[in-house]
Symmetry: C2
Subunit: 242 residues, 2 copies
């Protein structure tokens, strides 16, 4: 019996027909499907493929033991997540060693700020792993704004809202075009940083890009609103355009 | 008779099965297909869809009047390209106003450093335009390296090799993870900048990502080699990993 392969399959920003043809085939034919989710939630990756899974597919939800209950700086945060990823890896590895292919569903692109990479590194050398790139959430977001993100020689910088304020301001000032992700509870800090960097009035807030609930508005007009974790802020570059 | 729609369809990094399901359908059903190319070349976007076009599809190649024959700083560069894009837009607009849908093939993601945006802005208000986001060339490149591009709070910066040396160095120093595109004849300048920024030894050169001729090597081991325009340099972030 030959060992199976673990596929880290990027699903893209959310719309089902924005899966790649390769990802679409892998998901529809999968017998073992693993995905991360918050405890008690359906899971964003799993929801994207609603209606696509084979009737006999065996699902393996991997529920984060924590998300924001413990601060990132607390050493227990890394310890708990590390143990969690090790457990998930053991399950997936055992399936593959038993000859089964395992599809791990990943929202966005698996190698771009994804959770899959924590399985990926732990599986190296044990079983075959293949990664299917995908449309990033930020591509979905800037497309939703109806304006190009980068022109000519524009510098694009991608920042996480979890960074400290000064780092955010420095990164924002250096960039021509800007994407800010993970903004949920960091929204006030991100707003202040954009103001200090002189980019607040040009910032757009995109929620649920490419999905049914998609909204696009100027961040300044969303003042005070709480935004979900998967909201993305976009500031367009203004580079050379013949 | 109702007017047609112009679709800017991102094709992704190069592999045909990395088109999105939406793009795949649009391309296979298209009756009018436009694409940019260098004079005398098949065109990268057109090559990606080889074998996919309908037998009755009418092709409209749009050949750049110049690419690197005139420096970017010469005012004639912008004038010639502007006139070219205006001509292309007129053709596409006329087709749509005659009731035809037009598919414009775009390598990578249309709103990410693409030529399509020059048609897109010129068509605004005249005919309906829809943009289909796609997997970027850089996603294809970092996936090819077999290592995640960004972890935790890593800052990702995307730089064009056409930038001046000091701007390149400044951008490289600020970034945790780095992508450099448009490196063809700028390769020596990009190499020097990476050395000055202390990132040269960590840089990977990816050519023809996701395509038949894909190569991945450390940039330091590719010393002296001339690289094609669509090569991409990747430096991976080393952020938080539980």
């Amino acid at each position: 019996m030959s060992a199976g392969t673990v596929y880290g399959v990027g699903l893209g920003p959310g719309a089902q027909d924005l899966l790649s043809v390769r990802a679409d085939r892998l998901v529809r034919n999968a017998r073992h499907v693993a995905f991360f989710r918050k405890a008690g939630r359906a899971g964003q990756a799993r929801q994207i493929v609603n209606g696509m899974l084979h009737a006999d597919a065996v699902e393996f939800p991997m529920e984060y033991p924590i998300t924001t209950e413990i601060p990132l700086t607390d050493p227990r945060y890394n310890e708990m997540l590390s143990a969690f990823y090790t457990d998930c890896t053991a399950h997936v590895r055992a399936l593959a060693q038993d000859g089964e292919d395992v599809i791990v569903l990943c929202e966005g692109d698996p190698f771009f700020y994804g959770s899959f990479m924590h399985l990926y590194t732990r599986l190296q050398g044990d079983v075959a792993v293949e990664v299917v790139p995908a449309i990033t959430g930020m591509s979905g977001a800037w497309t939703a704004t109806g304006a190009p993100i980068t022109w000519g020689d524009d510098i694009l910088t991608v920042l996480m809202g979890t960074l400290d304020a000064d780092t955010l301001v420095r990164g924002m000032k250096q960039a021509d075009a800007l994407v800010v992700m993970k903004i949920g509870r960091n929204i006030d800090k991100v707003r202040d940083a954009l103001k200090r960097a002189g980019k607040y009035d040009d910032a757009y807030l995109v929620e649920y890009a490419t999905m049914a609930g998609q909204t696009v508005q100027r961040l300044a007009e969303a003042e005070g609103k709480v935004t979900p974790y998967f909201s993305i802020i976009v500031v367009h570059g203004q580079g050379r355009r013949p």
